[in-house]
């Protein structure tokens, strides 16, 4: 009897510490599909195969539509993953709601921060605290049909001239097709003029004179007639694929929809003559790797975040997943350098502006879209933006109000 006891204790002694320290099993949620998914899974596989790690990671693809709501619902209750990958726009809301994303400032030294394109780090910083490591970014750039247009325009002056030359309205041909009814795209003009939707203290600045000037330019372009009316994304895709649109302002998601027989090129957005030669500054969305505030293995989770945002993983994601990694070193790789699409987006991101990550962003879309629709329907930008400013100010105040 006694020997049995000793034996049991010995076995327990061998097993228990092993069970505690040997393996941290992590779950990561992402919303990738297709090529992005297989590239990401390859990276995860490489991480799991590292001989020196005791961390095992399981990647789980969650449909994009439900992703953010699932995170908001599951993570604070401890039911979520250890790590999740999502764009920065919901981050502010998660931080304010609490118990969702773990601040990782403490783990991150300057060397690690220096690994990334600086604006991508800025995108994941909220109230002075870093909440995620940037994995990749998405910006819009100028995509052109090389059969119709060999060299893309560098300035808006050139753009207007080229676009007008390529437009033939009766034949349904347009020089430029882009979602100028979508505020996300139009923001590239607003930011180019030095405007924006919020100031540093998250006070709305919808009717700033810079924004109005930018919209004035948009109106001028519309009157010039080289853009199709009511441009939905489906319409833009079909125009471009039928060779009826020479240029498109869009992001990497658009390239997946381009027909195989179209020979396209990607170039940075033009500089704005009307804004003294400043570049168009598109909004950048950054996908961050977030550590769940409820994870039992935060250290291990951060290890993984560091790995997937590194140069090695980045190369796989770039070349096989066709993404634009945030790690700078990826772009020194000769294969990546030789890729015209990746290097064009890399050039574009230099002048991109991180899309604000404050919770107030969701309130901005509705008044901004309304204002943009009014402008597109021929109303004065000044008045439209004044109305938007008032509406947004009211909503922001309602949240800031003290009882």
């Amino acid at each position: 009897m006694r020997t049995l006891f000793v034996l049991l204790a010995a076995v327990a002694g061998i097993l228990m510490p092993g069970a505690a320290a040997a393996q941290a099993k992590l779950v990561v949620w992402h919303s990738y599909r297709g090529g992005e998914k297989s590239a990401f899974e390859k990276v995860v596989g490489a991480f799991n195969a590292r001989p020196d790690t005791k961390i095992k990671v399981d990647a789980l693809a969650v449909p994009f539509d439900a992703f953010a709501d699932k995170i908001s619902a599951a993570v604070p209750r401890g039911k979520g993953p250890d790590i999740f990958i999502y764009a920065q726009d919901r981050m502010g809301g998660w931080v304010e709601a609490g118990n969702t994303v773990e601040p990782i400032d403490f783990y991150v030294d300057d060397a690690l921060k220096g690994r990334f394109i600086p604006t991508t780090v800025e995108a994941l910083t909220y109230r002075g605290n870093l909440y995620g490591l940037p994995l990749d970014y998405k910006v819009i750039a100028l995509i052109h049909n090389r059969k119709l247009l060999k060299t893309p325009p560098r300035t808006t002056g050139e753009l207007v001239k080229v676009a007008q030359g390529l437009t033939n309205r009766p034949a349904g041909k347009f020089g430029l097709a882009w979602s100028y009814g979508d505020f996300y795209y139009v923001a590239s003009l607003l930011n180019g003029f030095g405007g924006g939707v919020f100031d540093k203290a998250t006070r709305p600045t919808m009717n700033a004179p810079e924004n109005v000037k930018a919209l004035d330019l948009l109106v001028k372009w519309e009157k010039a007639g080289f853009m199709p009316a009511e441009p939905s994304s489906a319409l833009i895709t079909s125009l471009f694929n039928e060779g009826k649109a020479a240029m498109v302002f869009s992001g990497p998601w658009f390239l997946g929809e381009v027909a195989s027989d179209i020979d396209y090129g990607v170039a940075p957005l033009p500089t704005i003559d009307e804004a003294g030669g400043q570049p168009m500054r598109p909004w950048m969305t950054v996908e961050g790797v977030f550590v769940s505030a409820q994870s039992q293995h935060k250290d291990a989770a951060f290890e993984f975040a560091k790995y997937v945002t590194g140069a090695e993983a980045g190369k796989v994601m770039a070349l096989e997943g066709r993404q634009s990694p945030a790690a700078k070193a990826v772009y020194d790789d000769p294969k990546v350098q030789a890729d015209p699409v990746l290097s064009a987006f890399r050039k574009q991101v230099e002048v991109a502006v991180p899309m604000p990550n404050v919770a107030e962003m969701t309130m901005m879309w509705s008044p901004a879209t309304t204002a943009l629709n009014k402008v597109n329907a021929g109303n004065s930008p000044r008045e439209a933006m004044d109305v938007a400013q008032k509406a947004l100010q009211k909503d922001v105040d309602a949240l800031r109000k003290k009882k």
Binding site: F106, G128, N129, E230, L235, A377, A398, K403
Partner: protein
């Protein structure tokens, strides 16, 4: 009066008195126990906050890092032995009096990896200070953790208006003052029961008399209990205030000794978690008598309110049991126990899934809840009827613009309500008339291929409505939509459908019209087929025209089937979220928003949860009124 005989009511009032007193006294006792523990807890926390604020202000004044360490060890010397101080700046542990931080781990050093929570806490406090400067719901600038009787408190360090770090202070536990014995309450209970027994034995067994006696005894016992307990609670409150004041005075004295400064405002150290001074204690550490009294009053009044509620409940128990109500309920439960057992799961389910969320939503509508303050309890966000007043009291739905045009304010409740009513009426009228017409056509005798037509006409209803909605939205595209292309064939200019409220409304109406007629058609067709053919024959023999037959036979026979269908259809259309959200999305400018989509936007785009809850409650109210009226009308139609 009572169904049972008088002797039974003697016992009943006795049991009623027992139950009533148990509710009032035992419940009150438990409540006060909680309140007193809470009170003591709060005072301990407040004293700890005074200490951490004092420490923070001293450390903040220190000129260099060595100064900080000297000050911290001196501060430790003036405080009780269990006190622990840690000063954190960025990722550095600047100073510490924790025995764990000695030897290799002595300050100053970088924080170890497992000490990340300390760093995060400092960052959180800094973010709290920053966002409180911007306004809005107050965020915590001081964090308190309870460790038994001890308190671990953390406060930000400030220099030149910027947060530079954090102090963490462990205040050791102090002996508890001890609770109050329940002897008094038990004695009151026994005493009241004995008195009742004597009275019931002596008095004639009349229900009214027994009720009076037991009620009087109940009130007496409750009054004694409440009076005694409130006085005790007031004393506890005063002790707490005194202890706080002496803590402030002691900290002021120590600070003077440590810094040599004479003008120190200790009153400013007594703050809430957002570091706003309570103003209860003066600079030197004395209680502001008026405020102290007011606060004691507040505590007593709060307790009184709860105790009176409990007493009222107790009295209710007394009356219900005494007059035999409990007896009858109990008998009903026993007789029909099978029925109650069957519906018990359903009752529990509806309580959890329907009534609780419903009541929570209504409670939410009286608060100022939004994304920034969901961490606060609803009672602290209470704004009363403000949301309702803002929604219903804003009549500015029409105003004159600078150029003399009339402009609607589409975000106004009354505009949205008006639009919802128009939307509902036009949809139902269209659905009923077109559905009925098609039903009449399909009901034609000898119609070839009728089953095929019927299936085709029901199809729109069978398709998921969001798919239909998206298809229709595409058909109204300005340049490539089929509607504009048809218009172009006839030589009309293409229309931007979503640019004006009226055309935008037409798109939604068309979509919903397409979706709603099949239901009405199916209902009418069924009713039409049940009309006996000989009615029409008789009418024809009498020489009635087709129109007369329709008016006198078809319509009245359809009524019993159509009225419920219309009622349902009104409610559905009133809350037809999908079509509006997907087809017009409220464009232009929120003019084609209906109430339910507007409420959604307030909750999930503007994050004003309380306001959205009030909106939803108003929608419920409108439908409730509609339902009541409709019910009456229907009953009237049934009577015909």
């Amino acid at each position: 009066m009572s169904p049972a005989g008088p002797p039974a009511s003697r016992v009943r009032f006795g049991i009623g008195l027992l139950f009533g007193l148990l509710v009032a006294l035992a419940g009150g006792w438990a409540l006060l126990l909680g309140a007193r523990t809470q009170l003591e807890d709060d005072w301990t926390t407040r004293r700890a906050i005074v200490a951490v604020n004092a420490l923070g202000s001293l450390v903040g004044q220190a000129t260099d890092d060595a100064g900080v360490r000297k000050l911290v060890s001196a501060w430790q010397g003036t405080h009780p032995p269990g006190t622990r101080v840690r000063v954190i700046r960025g990722t550095t542990l600047e100073a510490s009096t924790d025995p764990a931080d000695t030897g290799a781990k002595a300050a100053p050093r970088r924080l170890a990896r497992e000490e990340k929570p300390l760093y995060d806490q400092a960052q959180r406090l800094r973010a709290g200070v920053d966002s409180n400067r911007e306004g809005g719901a107050p965020k915590a600038e001081i964090e308190v953790e309870r460790q038994g009787g001890a308190r671990q408190v953390a406060a930000p360090l400030e220099a030149d208006g910027k947060v530079t770090g954090m102090v963490r202070l462990l205040v050791p536990a102090e002996p508890s003052t001890g609770g109050r014995s329940p002897v008094q309450a038990v004695l009151l209970l026994v005493f009241a029961l004995v008195l009742y027994a004597v009275a019931a034995w002596l008095l004639p067994p009349r229900t009214a008399l027994l009720a009076t006696v037991s009620t009087a005894l109940f009130c007496l016992a409750a009054a004694f209990f409440v009076g005694g307990e409130l006085r005790a609670l007031g004393l506890a409150e005063r002790d707490g205030q005194r202890a706080l004041a002496s803590t402030v005075a002691a900290e002021v004295g120590r600070a003077r000794a440590l810094t040599g400064a004479s003008a120190i405002d200790g009153g400013a150290w007594d703050t809430d978690l957002a570091r706003k001074p309570h103003g209860l204690v003066t600079g030197a550490g004395a209680i502001d008598r008026e405020k102290g009294e007011a606060q004691a009053q507040r505590v007593r009044r709060g307790a009184l309110r709860s105790l009176l509620t409990l007493a009222a409940l107790g009295l209710l128990a007394l009356v219900v049991v005494g007059f035999g109500g409990a007896h009858r309920v109990g008998r009903a439960l026993v007789t029909n126990r099978q029925a109650y057992a069957y519906i018990a799961p359903a009752i529990m389910g509806t309580t959890l899934l329907v009534f609780f969320p419903f009541l929570y939503g209504i409670a939410l509508s009286f608060t100022d809840s939004n994304i920034y303050n969901t961490n606060l309890p609803l009672t602290e966000l209470w704004v009363g009827l403000r949301n309702y007043a803002t929604i219903l009291g804003d009549f500015s739905f029409l105003r004159r613009a600078a150029d003399g045009h009339w402009v609607f304010n589409y975000l106004n409740f009354y505009w949205t309500f008006l639009f919802t009513v128009i939307w509902t009426i036009t949809n139902v009228v269209w659905g009923v008339s077109f559905g009925l017409l098609l039903a009449l056509v399909l009901n034609t005798k000898g119609l070839a291929l009728r089953p095929i037509y019927r299936v085709l006409l029901i199809l729109p209803w069978a398709m998921p409505n969001y798919i239909t909605a998206l298809i229709w939205k595409g058909m109204f595209h300005r340049q490539f939509g089929v509607v504009n292309q048809v218009l172009a064939i006839f030589g009309f200019e293409p229309l931007s459908w979503f640019d004006t409220p009226f055309t935008s409304y037409l798109t939604a109406l068309a979509t919903n019209g397409w979706l709603s007629f099949p239901f009405m058609m199916v209902v009418s067709l069924g009713a039409l087929q049940s009309i006996p053919a000989d009615l029409y024959e008789a009418a024809r023999v009498d020489g009635a025209s087709r129109w007369q037959q329709f008016r006198a036979i078809t319509l009245p026979s359809l009524k019993p089937a159509l009225v419920p269908a219309v009622i349902l259809s009104v409610v559905w259309t009133f809350n037809m979220f999908n079509i509006i959200y997907l087809v017009t999305a409220g464009e232009p400018g929120g003019s084609t928003e209906i109430l339910i989509t507007q409420a959604y936007k307030y909750a999930f785009q503007r994050y004003q949860y309380g306001y959205a809850a009030a909106y939803a409650t108003i929608i419920f109210g409108i439908l409730l009124v509609y339902g009541t009226i409709q019910n009456r009308v229907t009953r009237a139609t049934e009577a015909l």
